[in-house]
Amino acid sequence: MCNGQDLLTANIQASTGKTDIQLKVLQVVLQLANALAVDPTSIEFLTTSVIGTMLSVSLQLCDSSRYHSSVVSSAFATVRQLMAIIMDDASENLLPQQQGQRAAAVQSPGQSPAKSMAPVPNTNELPKCAELFIKDLSNFAKGLPGEWLNGKILDMPWRWHLTHPFHRRRCGGPQHGHGPHI
């Protein structure tokens, strides 16, 4: 249904520089993530690797200095949707109250309670993705590259852009950190 090779192809297509192709790639990523997240039987395909690749493709297109504004806004919306998917799933799986509601919803009317309480192997990796993504977000906010989304650098914080020359002038030494130097 979805493997790393397909997403790698999408990643390459996103780098072509053509706005219509980039928008189409984002559309595919969004539809794929939504379809997989809605169906409980197919959510196991949303592995850490797949989610990471989807986020990488979307974050790559968020660079407003390289891509068209329509692409950037679509990419931002895609990232937000992916974030909502993984955070909602983490809430459903980790919060006690939500777990009970989810178990009640999954249990069919004719199913016996004993059968429904049988242990099911948990192959859902989305809660782990949520943790990793939040940690990477805090790295992005500091102007550092992500650890999970390795090599990605989100838009630089305004503080770094604007105050960096002041730091350099005051310290007189080499610049620290990452990002463009002004």
Partner: protein, 546 residues
């Protein structure tokens, strides 16, 4: 973009961070540390972006940073293990309120002040890169108050306050400078003039000899050493406003009190927060009201001031006398509250939402409104301190069997309040409040302790209760009481509005009642303020005090 996503995550899925251990750990290990540089450089970042991009981008960026910090404070203050981070975030916000020696001016040249760096010339004009100018200080504040204050505070007949679009420009009725309109950011790009040396070296005040061990102590000393002879510095008002709004929301909620109820560990942490907030806000007001223009600014925007104060008064519900003596207040009370007796907690939330919407609106907040907001933050904070201290003491006195009492005396009767009080008319008045009434007065439905309960509190004879009070309340007041008294006295001398006078007297009442309640040897030094409190009703009936 990363900041936007962080804000959405922590505000949209806050239960995840409150209840799941792995996400709780991320709060302390990743999210809070990434916010600290932004809060530490809040004012400098604002100035840089203001100079390069105008007030719109600078306001929105500052607002986003503080909203994230606000969400962290309000949602996760009671999360186990996060209290130290909360303490640090509050201290950083307070740090960004006052000018500092190593500000952006010092970063650039070591000698220049921010006023020169951002392009404020001797005529109080902020020069933009495109050559346009804008009056700062008094002119901006007056115009901002007109454009962003009075026009926004349009009272709706349905019992609320609706926000009207703030128009740019506007004529000044104060006789101050007229400013050139610069879009909707006129009010948001105001600068507050502060006198770094108000009246020379501060007089020794009660408690001033107590060493300040809070993390802000170094900042205070750096700030003091920076002050020259009657130096006037300009600080941007918008970062101050958003920080003050956050602190007000924090203390209008029950989080701080809940943390204090957790025990002496929570009390110690909150004590530092109280000390930082009261010290910083009272210093800000002292510095601001040392500049005559600021006093004039507030007085000339009395419409805004009155609306603001009265709006808050209705929901605090303990300034009935002020409401009764003002016809306008009575009319507005009917508009806001109607005849229904809605819950105080709901109204408290409404106050928080209203202030938040006003401060974080695109048009920003005027300089005069910042001073009014600071004054209210001071009162809210001192009252929350008094309430938290007394609640903490009462909670301990309710459980005599579970605590280790060193003396074991009068534990069961400590909540029974019978005291003789002399009213303003000179007649002897006996106030009898039993334990149930006192507990009800301290309950969650009453955010502020009624004055009758404050004045009727007996002196605790239990050493442990006294120790709790000393730990929680008196220590804070002894460090900051001098500055609070100074600003209240300054307001009493300079402001003629009866509502403001009552509020000043109220602040002194609450702060010094707490000290008197702890019954230490120091209470004699506070005897005179208590006398002022006892005759406060008579004082407030006069239009002019001193």
């Amino acid at each position: 973009m990363a900041m936007d996503l962080i804000y959405e995550v922590i505000s949209g899925w806050k239960r995840l961070f409150q209840e799941v251990a792995a996400f709780r750990a991320i709060l302390s290990s990743h999210l809070s540390p990434c916010m600290k540089p932004y809060l530490r450089n809040l004012r400098d970042d604002y100035l840089v972006v203001l100079k390069s991009g105008g007030s719109g981008p600078s306001n929105s960026q500052t607002s986003l940073v503080v909203r994230i910090a606000r969400s962290l404070l309000l949602n996760f203050m009671t999360v186990r293990g996060f209290l130290l981070e909360v303490e640090m975030l509050v201290n950083l916000m307070m740090h960004s309120i006052l000018p500092e020696k190593m500000g952006i001016g010092a970063m650039l040249s070591g000698t220049e002040v921010p006023r020169q760096i951002i392009g404020i010339d001797d005529g109080n004009k902020l020069r933009y890169d495109d050559g346009s100018v804008q009056i700062v200080g008094l002119g901006t504040g007056v115009a901002g108050a007109l454009a962003g204050g009075l026009m926004r505070l349009a009272i709706s007949a349905q019992g609320g306050i609706k926000s009207a679009a703030a128009g740019a420009g506007g004529s000044s009725s104060s006789g101050g400078s007229h400013s050139s309109a610069r879009g909707s950011g006129l009010a948001g790009s105001g600068f507050l003039a502060l006198c770094t040396n108000p009246g020379g070296p501060s007089k020794l005040s009660p408690g001033s000899g107590v060493a300040d061990s809070s993390p802000m102590a170094n900042s205070y000393s750096a700030y003091s050493s920076n002050s020259g002879a009657n130096d006037i510095v300009y600080v941007p008002s918008y970062p101050i406003a958003v920080c003050l709004e956050t602190v007000m929301a924090l203390f209008l909620s029950d989080r701080a009190t809940d943390v204090m109820a957790m025990g002496l560990g929570g009390v110690d942490a909150v004590k530092t927060i109280y000390t930082s907030v009261i010290h910083t806000v009272s210093t800000l007001l002292n510095e601001a009201f040392a500049v005559d223009n600021n006093v004039r600014l507030v007085l000339h925007t009395s419409g805004t001031l009155l609306y603001f104060i009265l709006y808050l008064n209705f929901y605090y519900r303990d300034f009935e006398l002020a409401v009764k003596t003002s016809h306008l207040a009575g009319v507005l009370e009917n508009l806001f509250c109607g005849s229904s007796d809605s819950g105080v907690s709901e109204n408290r939330d409404a106050v928080c939402r209203f202030v938040h919407d006003q401060v974080h609106s695109p048009s920003g907040i005027s300089t005069a409104e910042v001073l009014v907001l600071a004054f209210h933050v001071l009162q809210v904070t001192t009252r929350a301190l008094v309430r938290g201290s007394l609640q903490c003491t009462m909670a301990m006195s309710k459980e005599p069997s579970t605590r280790a009492s060193p003396v074991g005396a009068s534990a069961g009767t400590s909540s029974e309040l019978v005291v003789n009080s002399t009213g303003g008319s000179g007649d002897s008045l006996t106030i009898s409040i039993d334990a149930a009434q006192a507990q009800a007065a301290m309950g969650p439905q009453h955010f502020f302790v009624p004055r009758s309960v404050l004045l009727a509190l007996p002196f605790p004879t239990d050493q442990l209760l006294t120790q709790v009070l000393n730990t929680s309340g008196r220590a804070v007041v002894e460090k900051t009481g001098g500055k609070v008294r100074d600003i209240c006295m300054s307001m009493l001398l300079k402001v003629e509005d009866t509502v403001v006078i009552r509020r000043c007297v109220g602040i002194i009442t609450e702060v010094y009642c707490l000290i008197l309640y702890s019954r230490t040897a120091a209470h004699k030094r506070y005897f005179f303020p208590i006398l002022v409190v006892r005759f406060s009703d008579r004082v407030s009936r006069t239009t002019r005090v001193m």
